[in-house]
């Protein structure tokens, strides 16, 4: 059983404090969702956790099984078991998916695993021959992120608005694969989203509401229904 613990995390971007003390604990196999209005700091949280350049941590800790991730570089954090699936995956011309996976430490038969996972999320095999995220549609990029995630099997995955711009079929494929991950290797999911439809597939254990850089409410699935009915206004600080 692994545990991801975020304690009083504060961070700034371009000199402006965007995260103002986030605390959150999640265990293997759990699904947590973070919802909140635009500009509340959701994506900043995802980026800070994955050491995206341009963000500065002002205070707090993030530990994965006791290891302080904030002292590690992006690569070491991923190797420790934390992986980000992105809203807009970066295009990397000249680098093939298989080379990325092998360099990232994929175990076993990486080629076979990659092909198998592509099939599971409905990503055409020939797209695996293209360079990472180059010449892929928005939906294909998200499916490709799922292939990476499923081959690399992180302990915890942060999903940064992975549902944005997805059609119904793609959303279903991505959601199903993520749900299966929680069962197959007890992957913990931290899903940042604006939309309930992803949550319908993922069935989160806990929903957090973020506003102005803080978690202002946490609760069970019923919170999503309240948000759907009343919007974020009652939660604004």
């Amino acid at each position: 059983m692994s545990e991801l613990v975020i304690t009083d995390l504060r961070a700034e971007v371009a000199g402006k404090e965007v995260l103002k003390g986030i605390s959150l604990t999640m265990k293997s196999g759990e699904v947590h969702a973070i919802m909140g209005p635009n500009g509340s700091g959701k994506s900043t949280l995802a980026h800070v956790l994955s050491a995206h350049p341009g963000y500065k941590v002002l205070g707090g800790t993030v530990t994965l099984d006791g290891v302080n991730l904030l002292e590690l570089g992006a690569s070491e954090r991923a190797r420790a078991g934390l992986m980000l699936a992105m809203q807009q995956p970066v295009e990397v011309p000249g680098v093939r998916p298989i080379d990325l996976l092998v360099a990232a430490g994929a175990s076993g038969d990486a080629v076979e695993n990659m092909r198998h996972e592509a099939e599971r999320v409905g990503l055409r095999g020939d797209l695996l021959e293209r360079f990472v995220n180059v010449d892929l549609s928005g939906g294909e990029k998200k499916r490709a992120e799922m292939v990476q995630l499923a081959v690399l099997k992180p302990k915890f995955a942060i999903l940064d608005e992975i549902d944005s711009g997805l059609d119904v079929d793609a959303l279903h494929a991505v959601g199903e694969r993520l749900s299966a991950a929680t069962r197959e290797w007890n992957c913990g999911l931290l899903a940042i989203t604006h939309f309930r439809r992803l949550l319908d597939v993922l069935a989160p254990d806990v929903i957090h509401v973020m506003s102005a850089g803080k978690i202002v409410a946490s609760g069970g699935p019923e919170l999503a229904e309240i948000l759907e009915r009343d919007g974020y206004e009652p939660f604004k600080v």
Binding site: S75, A78, L84, P93, G94, V95, A103, A104
Partner: protein, 405 residues
């Protein structure tokens, strides 16, 4: 220059064309860094007497990579002399001890202002000519493997592609520690013919490499040329194309990787004489350590070469704060109805791409290696495995030598 002159006299053996070239060389003299086109060359530590050994210093300089390339259709050229050849039907090889050119003007006149071309004319042991018969389509690429066993390697190579034919060549140079390597090449591509040439230079970092090539393209001819410069202390590569017939197309890709104190000096001239001719030039290279690269490209369009389309693109990757990259595009246009474009970028590895790879668990040094190799990928399309693996080996070596970033 006494020692060099003595060796040269023996080599020229009284041949009038060679002597004429030598006389011109003596008049022109060695270039200096005061000459604009030589300003980046480390000429302060250059003396021809360093290279006075015209006789073999070693008997066996062939590398495993060169040997592999020689296992298929190939020509093995040692110090400018054909040692063996294995050629498919439709290709003939001849060699002449009197220097010749594929240009219409006499050879010395043709290169009268070029010091090192004159030296090659005077001192290359023979002119090697490969002819592809008309209407011949070669299915396999032919390797021209240059081995250097002496202190100098002057070579004259001509490829003549007959009407309607298609041929592809891979030229490979490696080894040659402390040597001066001066290949002078000419390619003639007849009507509706097509030629592809990949030239990979992976010489020792103590060698000097000063190369020049010219393509002569007739009507609807196509020359696709790819130059890969990895080795040499000073690597100069001048590549010209004369688009003489309407509809001729020249694609030139030049790429290089610099480390230590290497200088990669690329010069190009796309000379559009006929109308509706296209030239596409893509130069992409990376420099690390204290190395430097220069790209100077001239697009020249003659009056009457209407609807010419000429484009140059140049991307340089800086892998250290002390590496330098210069890009100097030039246009000389004497016709109005043309299309010309130039694009140029220079900078370090993309920070976001690097982060993305790392965020998957790729270690930082490995991410850099993937990105640099990726940067070269489009430049290596069609290159044989031996050459791609050489580039990959050099990228890994440069990364282990340098603290990138």
């Amino acid at each position: 220059m006494t020692n060099f002159s003595n060796s040269a006299t023996v080599r020229m053996n009284g041949d009038p064309t060679r002597l004429e070239a030598w006389d011109h060389f003596v008049q022109v003299g060695l270039p200096s860094t005061k000459d604009e086109v030589w300003r980046y060359a480390p000429l302060h530590d250059f003396s021809l007497d360093q290279f006075a050994s015209f006789e073999p210093l070693t008997n066996n300089a062939i590398s495993a990579r060169a040997a592999e390339l020689l296992s298929g259709p190939s020509v093995h050229i040692v110090d400018g002399v054909v040692k063996s050849s294995n050629l498919p039907a439709g290709v003939t090889i001849t060699s002449s001890t009197t220097p010749t050119t594929l240009d219409r003007s006499p050879v010395v006149e043709r290169y009268a202002a070029d010091t090192f071309a004159l030296l090659a004319i005077a001192l290359a042991p023979e002119t090697l000519t490969l002819r592809i018969a008309p209407q011949t389509r070669l299915s396999q690429s032919i390797a021209l493997v240059h081995e250097t066993t002496a202190g100098v390697n002057f070579s004259l190579t001509q490829i003549v592609v007959g009407e309607g034919s298609y041929a592809s060549f891979v030229e490979y140079f490696d080894g040659a520690p402390d040597a001066l390597v001066v290949p002078l090449s000419e390619y003639s591509v007849a009507e509706n013919a097509s030629l592809e040439v990949i030239t990979c230079q992976r010489l020792a970092h103590s060698a000097w490499h000063i190369a020049r090539s010219t393509g002569y393209l007739e009507r609807a001819a196509s020359l696709q040329q790819s130059i890969i410069g990895l080795g040499a202390h000073y690597n100069r590569s001048r590549n010209d194309a004369h688009l003489l017939g309407a509809g001729a197309v020249n694609e030139l890709r030049t790429t290089f990787l610099g480390s230590g104190t290497q200088v990669h000096d690329f010069r190009t001239r796309q000379y559009h004489v006929a109308g509706r001719t296209d030239s596409r030039l893509l130069s992409k290279g990376a420099v690390a350590g204290d190395s430097r690269c220069v790209y100077t490209g001239l697009i020249e369009i003659e009056k009457g070469a209407k609807r010419t389309d000429a484009r140059q693109t140049n991307h340089n990757l800086l892998l250290s704060s002390t590496a330098h990259a210069d890009s100097v595009p030039n246009l000389d246009i004497r016709e109005n109805d043309v299309m010309c474009a130039h694009a140029s970028t220079v900078g370090p590895l993309d920070e976001l791409q690097r982060w993305y790879l790392e965020s998957r668990g790729v270690p930082p040094r490995e991410a850099e290696r993937l990105l640099i190799e990726g940067f070269f990928t489009e430049m290596l399309v069609g290159a044989p495995a031996e050459i791609i693996s050489g580039v990959s080996e050099d990228v890994t070596r440069v990364l282990s030598e340098e603290l990138v970033g």
